[in-house]
Amino acid sequence: MNSTIGPPSSALRVTNAFKIFGRKPQEALKALKDGKSRKDVAALGTAAVIDASFEVKPGEIFVVMGLSGSGKSTLIRMLNGLLPMTSGSVHVGDTDISKISGKRLRQVRQKSVSMVFQHFALLPHRTVLENAAYALEIQGVDKKKRTAQATKMLETVGLTGWGDKYPGQLSGGMQQRVGLARALCSETDILLMDEAFSALDPLIRRDMQEQLASLQADLGKTIIFITHDLNEAMFLGDRIAVMRDGEIVQIGTPDEILTNPANEYVASFVRDVDRTRVLTAGSVMENPRAVVSINGGARAALLTMREQQTSGSFVIDRNRNFRGIVTDREVMALIDRGDSDLTEILTRADDAVSSETALNDLFGRSVESNTPLPVVDEKGRLVGAVARATLLAALGNVPSTTDAIQIVEPGQSAGNNDGSQQPAIFAPDPSGEKGGLL
């Protein structure tokens, strides 16, 4: 959100863009700038996009989401000059495309911005290969080279061997892969996708979303994705702009939009989102309470569990790496045997989940486990815990930040307990400290 100012840091920058259709766009523009609403100027023209400003960072998937009629399709067509804007500017790199036209605009489209369309927009009289190579053909690349490039891109999108077919012989999902290959072939840094998956069946759509996400990870394109599907927006978007009646009402990460909607409209929108796909373990986890060091020995572990009133505890080593879980019963047995080395009774060392894991994937494990799920960072260090109650609270959009959730049945699960200790025993930030017990 707080991208720095200046052309080099943004792949695309939109500043105070307006688009008004109708007979008197300039008058309507003036009225809008004077604070009149969209309804007020309806007689002068249809204000499709009102004062849109945002920046898209290189390599980002920026999703514009809104219902039909919210102006998102108009907005995306202003980004490559398919629709001239009434007022404002769009910078692609350093070029202000609101100020150029004709040949120079076509050059920007060839070199910098390509597009994928809702209904694929393939040329039905050309083969799949020729379609994929179309952008290169316009750029004047010779046939041999563009055929090689298009063949490679068809391979990338999983259409090897379909090059000789015609679009009409392909299913919708496959046709959109051709559309994607065509756009990728032009090797532009920016990819505009106008409801690219909306015309596809749900299962295929899901498939394409995953493929797009992985393609983007490989190729590092800057993608501006238009959709009316909030789940799609949440799944794909690094950041999301929510549009309503021509205005952008909120820009933020999926998490921010979900947990902190800017207004009632956005809130009502996100009400039916599938939170489990958006929220990650990292975003709902809490500080682990019962943590013992593997070097601390059995008696220290028992003390910790008693103080926390739990029947189990996470075990970490000196580097805060998660090593496993011990339970009170086994620690007792260990002490009875006159032993003290916790390594002997460690269990479920593989149970840790990554902080990137979607909540969706936590339910199964949470049910099977009678302790909170340990959450680790990419280095394997314990950074948090997700109790069953935390998981349920996150679904209900109860603020999942801290405490407040002491609904663990005593004895059943070693959840976090009352806050007699200061909560940040184990702050999630990797500032070093020794792995002592709380």
Binding site: R106, M115, L123, H125
Partner: protein
């Protein structure tokens, strides 16, 4: 007959206009006449010089290539019937007239249709003109054509062209305007120039509709060419006209039947053109 209240002398104006044209643009129309008579004579020579069976073989081959063996067989039988009715020469004259008129009409009307599709201003002008040309009784065209170009096949050809222009322009405009706008946008979005979009996207996708328009041009030409027989156009039209004036039933039936056979052949062949090159988009 005479009007007491008021009389607008539109006819007189038209006549004096025409007089002016004859006086000042005579040289131009001499050129037009020379061009069309050469064109017609050349095509006519090609169709009438070889033995009839050779022409039939060529036409049947064309039918086979465009549609299949059924149409090839049907047209062979049809042309043999024409020959058997002793109308072969006339039919070939008429075919030559139709082809000349249609070609010129296509060359004029298709670009006109494209211009109308591209610009609403052009469209607003072209539409009423086309309405005028198509609804004016066909005979009326023959008067200025006769005055300007004299008797013979040429006035018939020119009147035919004017009469047949409208569907070509209309269908072309319709075809290009109804090309999926998203596909046109795709061309724009990848940086294609307007000419390139026209050539590679709009015209190919509008082709079936444009071909339907060309089919209409040819059918209108055939009907007009028969009328043009009255001004010495020759061919089947001349035979029909002669049969009418002489109340000659046998000639009337035979020449009329030949027109029908020719019409069916031309229609089936050109209709199949509009279906060629479509890839199982269904």
């Amino acid at each position: 007959m005479a009007n007491d209240l008021f009389r607008i002398p539109v006819g007189k104006w038209a006549e004096s206009g025409l007089d002016w044209v004859i006086e000042n643009l005579g040289a131009f129309f001499d050129g037009v006449k020379a061009f069309f008579s050469q064109f017609y004579a050349g095509l006519d020579w090609v169709l009438t010089t070889p033995p009839f069976w050779a022409v039939i073989v060529v036409l049947a081959a064309l039918a086979f290539w465009l549609k299949g063996w059924k149409l090839a067989l049907g047209s062979t039988i049809g042309f043999l019937v024409i020959y058997g009715m002793n109308q072969w020469e006339n039919a070939m004259h008429t075919l030559a007239l139709v082809l000349v008129a249609s070609m010129v009409a296509v060359i004029i009307s298709v670009p006109l249709g494209i211009a109308a599709a591209k610009s609403s201003a052009v469209s607003r002008v072209v539409k009423p003109v086309m309405d005028f040309l198509q609804t004016m009784p066909a005979f009326v065209y023959l008067i200025p054509a006769l005055l300007l170009l004299g008797v013979g096949p040429v006035p018939g050809i020119v009147a035919t062209i004017i009469f047949a222009l409208a569907p070509g322009a209309r269908f072309t405009e319709l075809g290009i305007r109804s090309v999926d706008s998203e596909v046109v946008e795709a061309g724009q979005a990848f940086g294609a120039s307007p000419m390139r979009i026209l050539r590679q996207i709009q015209i190919p996708l509008a082709m079936p509709t444009i071909m339907a328009g060309i089919n209409q041009i040819i059918m209108l030409s055939l009907s007009m060419v028969v009328i043009a027989g009255m001004v010495g156009g020759g061919g089947l039209g001349g035979a029909v006209y002669a049969a009418l004036t002489g109340l000659n039933t046998p000639l009337g039936v035979e020449s009329g039947l030949s027109v029908v056979i020719l019409a069916i052949f031309l229609d089936r062949v050109t209709a199949s053109l509009s279906k060629v090159k479509q890839h199982s988009a269904a």
